[in-house]
Subunit: 300 residues, 2 copies
């Protein structure tokens, strides 16, 4: 492992920050640089000794790009970067959009002889691999995915968009059998009525289907914690035998795990045939660096 | 999925029996027949309407063979069947022998343009896939695999081989951090001394390294239960972030799960390039029948 793969981080929000850590800790990758939308603001101190550019073209020899962008920007960035023959990894998480995105990125990846790994966070992502394995080895039955307790990025963004909300935090609480309670903490903007704002939040499509509680607080920032978790349970039938119980549980720092999964997916991307892949389409061993036989000895 | 793959079951012990169930429940497989060492005994009623033969050559158009044989017989059967261009799946479980077996079967599979999936039970097997994923997404840390409570086939066979033991059952009890207690239930042969037999069991290499208790009972058969389980825990570091906790837990019927994993591995074998593979080398989606996009929509 003399020659390291060169990786670009596109976007420098929460995930981008943790992606730098994951790249630094990986024996087989080196950071080519960070791509940001604009360089007008002063760069954070963590980026001081790192090439920061506004176009991936300005970076030297990039093998793979981690798209740490908002989910709705993924396709545009991915198609652009794939067209330069550079592999991409993203954490696209709009469930109904995954198959269409895979088709779109697949065509681009084939055309430019490269690889895209999409929806490669923890859910969708590593959780999807576990759900797939559970479905295979217990083919009849029900899988419940119970998220939390932890901050939901998507729900928090949705609350912030509602009139009268100054700052917000939406926490997901698992109540079992794949159902969730939403605990929404907000700072109220001056002149707004608490009951009316709470009503608008509960009517929003993100919250209308779940039990939702809105709590007004003085300082939302004091409540923010990046810890998250999941419990995936499957009970069902293998062959003709009932009562097979499987459970996968995690308690993790959310952006740290997301960034680590992206780095694993980048490694797989550089080993696979041209095309676009979701995580269940990747052999787990391809997520690990170095020699296969060493891992088989350790992990089988 | 009009044309079903034809599968042969080689060996009709515990796993072989459950393999028939798993094949019957699979939409994409049909049973070609069962291969047994000898046909001199009366066949069990479950095999009444099934072709039972002593050589796989006597079965019509076999695509893949499930080797439900003792682990030490796997290599000989696999090499023979691979040489006929038929894919094989086994549950070889001697840890230090997996890499050498993979090399041996790989050469044969390449030579005969077919596929072998080895060590495809639940441990080694599906557990190995989960351990691999855990290692990838939390690259620094420790994984503990805690087995049981449940009957250990290997340990039970080892006890039975000891002088003075008429019948035996060895149960594995997890005591945490990958350590295990062995509860050994035996029927004593006439004329043997309980304390002496217990001593010999505890000195056997299968038991010498674990806390072992030997209990003499009147009727071992009354204690036998095929339920088993595992809890795999990993705590460690993603990127630079500590305190990432992962846990995978199962409570399952042992031979039923083993047989189901074998059928899943057979499906993957028929999709992969020639060669030999362990379970972590298989993309989880290849364990499932039918259309990829349908599974991606359901499981991502």
């Amino acid at each position: 492992m003399n020659q390291k793969y060169r990786v670009a981080v596109v976007g420098y929000g929460n995930i981008g920050r943790y992606a730098l850590d994951a790249i630094k800790a990986s024996p087989d990758f080196e950071l080519a640089g960070v791509v940001r939308r604009s360089l007008t603001e002063k760069q954070p101190s963590a980026l001081q000794d790192i090439p920061v550019v506004t176009s991936i073209d300005a970076l030297d020899k990039v093998d793979v790009a981690l798209l740490c962008t908002p989910t709705r920007a993924v396709e545009e960035y991915a198609l652009d970067i794939l067209s330069r023959g550079i592999a991409t990894v993203d954490t696209f998480d709009i469930h109904s959009g995954i198959v269409p995105l895979r088709r779109s990125l697949h065509a681009a990846a084939i055309a430019h002889k490269t690889v895209a790994v999409l929806s490669a966070g923890w859910d969708p992502g590593s959780d999807s691999m576990v759900r797939t394995l559970m479905e295979a080895i217990v083919p009849r039955g029900i899988t419940y995915t119970n998220f939390g307790p932890g901050m939901s990025m998507g729900h928090t963004v949705a609350v912030k968009a509602i009139g009268g909300v100054e700052k917000a935090l939406s926490i997901t609480i698992p109540v079992g059998t794949g159902l969730h309670r939403r605990m929404v903490y907000i700072e109220l903007a001056p002149g707004y009525n608490e009951a009316e704002v709470a009503q608008r939040i509960k009517q929003d499509d993100y919250f209308a289907h779940d039990e939702t509680h809105v709590v007004v607080v003085d300082d939302v920032d004091q409540l923010i914690d990046m810890g998250h978790g999941v419990s995936m349970e499957r009970k069902g039938v293998s062959g003709a035998t009932h009562n097979q119980h499987l459970n996968f549980e995690m308690r993790i720092n959310n952006p740290a795990l997301t960034a680590q999964v992206m780095v694993c997916a980048a490694r797989a991307a550089l080993r696979m045939a041209p095309g676009a892949y979701t995580m269940p389409e990747i052999a787990p061993i391809d997520l690990l660096p170095g020699d296969r036989e060493k891992w088989i000895t350790k992990l089988c």
